[in-house]
Symmetry: C2
Subunit: 211 residues, 2 copies
């Protein structure tokens, strides 16, 4: 199935960077950890970072039931969600052609509150397993009260676009200047135990082995 | 000077994570590389990643003069800009208290097109020096035609908020489970020369020494 079924999800600038296969959308969403969610509040845009998770063609978002942005998003108003991965700084011969290598997915749609308890628990599991794979079965699962305090939204991935830039700078002018790409690399550091842990508590494999 | 002069830039959820000093806003903006810019197009929010740079209390944004999002932002409509740095995954004893350590700045306002040639050149310099410090003087500077093809917007940083989470998980319940923080670390890799470079072109210090 291909991407970009509507005008607003069709990339017009830099078409050569537009991905057209749905698998590329999944790959970007699965590689990111934070999304930026935009809603309209009192006629003005508000953008905030939040966690997310993907299951098939559904993107799950969550947050406190008291958060206004989430309430607006849950009220059936249109939302836009972007997930961006920065891969490198592109140094060109000209200032004008300096750029970034990146992968970016943008989703448009209307989010639906997930209220059915089983469906909500599933959505939370997807969210938690995206943020911290292995945690759902390892940590204590939500109580009914915790479930009630969490809003889960589902956003359909039908209307989405993906833009990807890779490779060296695009300018070819004659120059003695260095040009190329400085990769931006994101990795995990050494786990930092909570000070309240009993001494000798081992770091579980789903944390220590995370790559 | 303190932050949060208006209701929409005053953090209501997680007040204990709200930074109140303007220097913390500068620090987050200066540490990030990509911002997410949200505008309202046909009544719906659109969020896209873009480069930026800061000079004092002005945030500069730029892009092609043909990009619709930028045209909307330049038309005097309200915008929202977020810069988010992910610092760690917070593994708690409970799924509910899993979280992220992050620093996030959100700016609200109306962007102004920078059209005066000297001011535009200054704004571009700020943008380029944020993306790639040292490049403005090292690479070829923009021609009048390149300047004309680039839209530069200025956004005042008056109306902004900063939210920061640091430290271990917040749950204290009795558990034998491991809890703590897995740091997320972003670094630069080994510079990748453009294939068109003359053999032996040295990597300049502003690239090889970047940290």
């Amino acid at each position: 199935m291909t991407l970009s079924p509507t005008p607003r999800s069709t990339i017009k600038r830099g078409k050569n960077r537009a991905a057209t296969d749905r698998s590329e959308l999944y790959a970007v969403l699965d590689a990111g950890l934070v999304c930026h969610l935009a809603v309209v509040v009192d006629g003005a845009p508000v953008v905030l970072p939040t966690g997310y998770g993907r299951d098939g063609d559904t993107l799950y978002l969550h947050g406190s039931t008291g958060a206004r942005t989430l309430r607006e998003a849950a009220a059936g108003l249109p939302v836009s969600v972007a997930v961006t991965l920065l891969d490198g700084i592109v140094y060109a011969r000209s200032v004008f052609d300096h750029s970034m290598n990146y992968r970016c997915a943008v989703v448009h749609g209307v989010a639906t509150p997930v209220t059915d308890p089983a469906a909500k628990s599933h959505g939370l599991r997807v969210l938690v397993e995206h943020l911290s794979p292995g945690s759902w079965d390892y940590a204590r699962q939500p109580t009914p009260r915790e479930l009630a305090a969490t809003a889960v939204l589902a956003l359909d991935l039908t209307e989405a676009s993906v833009k990807i830039r890779t490779g060296p700078p695009s300018d070819e002018e004659s120059s003695s200047a260095w040009a190329g790409v400085l990769p931006v690399v994101t990795t995990y550091g050494t786990p930092e135990p909570c000070p309240l842990l009993a001494e000798g508590t081992a770091v579980p494999e789903h944390v220590s082995g995370r790559r």
